[in-house]
């Protein structure tokens, strides 16, 4: 029964992906990567929440509370919420930059604004390094979901299955698949999360019996000292990176600045699914205190309380969220490999080669998952710390006139090396988010070098839409 429900929902999602791409079959690379920049506000909303609330929401978020207490839950919620306020103002500018430079990837924007193929390449490599762990993050979650359902699937089979479905989404219709499948995913995710949340409250006999002071210790519901420092600095740091690091994927396909801005208004309301997840996590703390793998807490809790057919709905929501984000990430990576990394791929061949790159990425992330699985939220932090290194470049493009191209490139390299070194050594800075340190190094290089040796003036994107140069005046770097 359970496997039948998951299989039917996944098959339905593939059908939806095929339907979504029915009118665009054979379209060019622009249609494939950014939907011809035609998405209305409601579709931008679903694409954005589809990609933001990945499998990390159902699997990683409860596991963070289970393993580390309130601080992990609070920073996770806080950064997303603050990001919406920032995004309301920044995301339309990101869209304007993409429109001005006819860009389909973030490295397109960087390369064309600064007129530098070298910077385009460095930006591309930085984002590729950052997004591989993000793909791995989805795979770990999917593995947890599929292997905890009592299905006779080993980790390799789970990962291969998820990779194949993600590949099919993209191969049939590019970015339109994640956008439309996201509607289905949100429905099942909402259903799954609410079901488990309600089930734990009923099982315990009220919310106070799940997360009230009589059942949880102060250490489990409060934070102080370095935990508080970590939560506050992580909220600040990740909220900035949210739109300037990840944003391109769900901002570029919008049809206008209006669509981007108005869609952001309602995004915080989606976060009202989190109370149910907090309840599920705290129930897991008491009901399943000795889990070997904290990542499994949500599914173990669901499995302990729900009948088979309801568990199937929960699993379908979780699986869809993982596969969907995996597909969207693979598409972002595929686009960058073909347009920015590989030199001179003809425009007509880019769609075909993007599909090949998508497949290669999925295989790489799958292999990494199988050989190196770890606590999901640790991986989330690494992704953000690396993606943050494009933030100074974005700020220069959006707001500053005389920033040195070589300084942006050098800052990015310094930031990536610092982020990796801090991740490997596990430096903690008394709780201060390590990503802010690497971002600080990057910013210091960019600011100091540009002040000492200002570059030629370039019109920042934020100054006005009318300042946008003619399409012919924009250097075309990679077809």
């Amino acid at each position: 029964m359970l496997i039948a429900i998951v299989a039917v929902v996944m098959a339905g999602s593939i059908g939806l992906a095929v339907w979504a791409g029915r009118s665009t079959r054979g379209g060019g690379i622009s249609e494939f990567l950014v939907g011809g920049r035609s998405f209305p506000a409601w579709l931008v909303y679903f694409l954005a929440v589809g990609e933001v609330y990945s499998i990390g929401t159902m699997i990683g978020f409860p596991s963070g509370i289970y393993a580390h207490g309130a601080s992990y839950g609070i920073w996770f919620l806080g950064y997303i919420l603050l990001a919406y306020s920032l995004g309301y103002f920044l995301a339309p500018l990101v869209w304007r930059a993409a429109k001005r430079y006819d860009a389909m990837t973030v490295p397109d924007v960087f390369g064309r604004h600064f007129g530098s193929r070298r910077l385009e390449l460095i930006t591309c490599v930085t984002m590729l390094i950052a997004l591989v762990p993000w793909g791995q993050y989805q795979f770990i979650g999917l593995q947890v979901v599929l292997s905890n359902l009592g299905l006779r699937l080993d980790p390799v089979q789970s990962v291969v299955l998820a990779g194949i479905v993600a590949f099919i989404y993209i191969a049939v219709s590019g970015v339109r698949s994640p956008a439309f499948v996201s509607i289905l995913k949100d429905l099942f995710m909402l259903l799954g999360v609410v079901l488990v949340g309600v089930a734990v409250v009923i099982a315990a006999g009220g919310t106070a019996k799940v997360s009230g002071p009589e059942v949880l210790s102060a250490a489990q519901t409060t934070m102080g000292g370095s935990e508080l420092t970590f939560a506050m600095t992580t909220i600040l740091f990740q909220s900035i990176v949210f739109y300037l690091g990840f944003g391109g994927a769900y901002v570029f396909p919008a049809r206008s600045e209006r669509a981007v801005k108005s869609s952001t208004v309602w995004m915080p309301m989606y976060m009202l699914i989190y109370p149910f997840l907090v309840l599920a996590a705290y129930y897991g703390v008491r009901a399943h205190p000795d889990l070997d793998n904290p990542n499994t807490v949500f599914m173990v809790t669901a499995k302990g309380l729900l009948p088979d057919w309801l568990l199937g709905l929960v699993a379908a929501g979780a699986a869809l969220s993982g596969v969907l984000v995996l597909a969207a990430t693979a598409l972002t990576i595929g686009g960058m490999v073909c347009r920015n990394l590989a030199p001179n791929v003809p425009a007509a061949a880019q769609r075909r080669w993007t599909v090949v790159a998508v497949a290669s990425f999925l295989v790489l992330a799958a292999v990494l998952t199988l050989v190196a699985s770890t606590l999901m939220l640790t991986i989330l932090n690494l992704t953000y710390n690396l993606l943050a290194q494009v933030v100074p470049g974005w700020l220069a493009i959006l707001f500053v006139r005389r920033v040195r191209t070589a300084a942006v490139a050098a800052g990015m390299v310094a930031g990536v090396l610092t982020a990796i070194a801090l991740y490997v050594t596990g430096a903690t800075f008394g709780g201060f988010n390590a990503g802010l340190v690497s971002l600080g190094v990057n910013l210091a290089v960019v600011v100091a070098w540009s002040l000492m040796k200002p570059d030629v003036a370039r019109t920042p994107v934020a100054h006005s839409a009318e300042d946008a140069p003619d399409a012919e005046a924009v250097p075309s770097l990679s077809a």
Partner: protein, 70 residues
Amino acid sequence: MIRSWPSVLIGLFVPAFALLAGILVLSGSTASVLGIPVLFFWVFCCCPLTTLCLWISWRFFDRAHYPEDD
């Protein structure tokens, strides 16, 4: 660059202050509201508050500056 400071104040500063100051103030409290730790409860209250602030910014300060899509 910034069309309307009231929009920034309402859409960004109010929700950011509510969120960050609320977390700082409530981080050590063991109280609970409706059985949910007050720290989490506050952050959940900030979700509709943020939407409300963004809606006010959009409706009263920004919408007129962004032309209707074709």
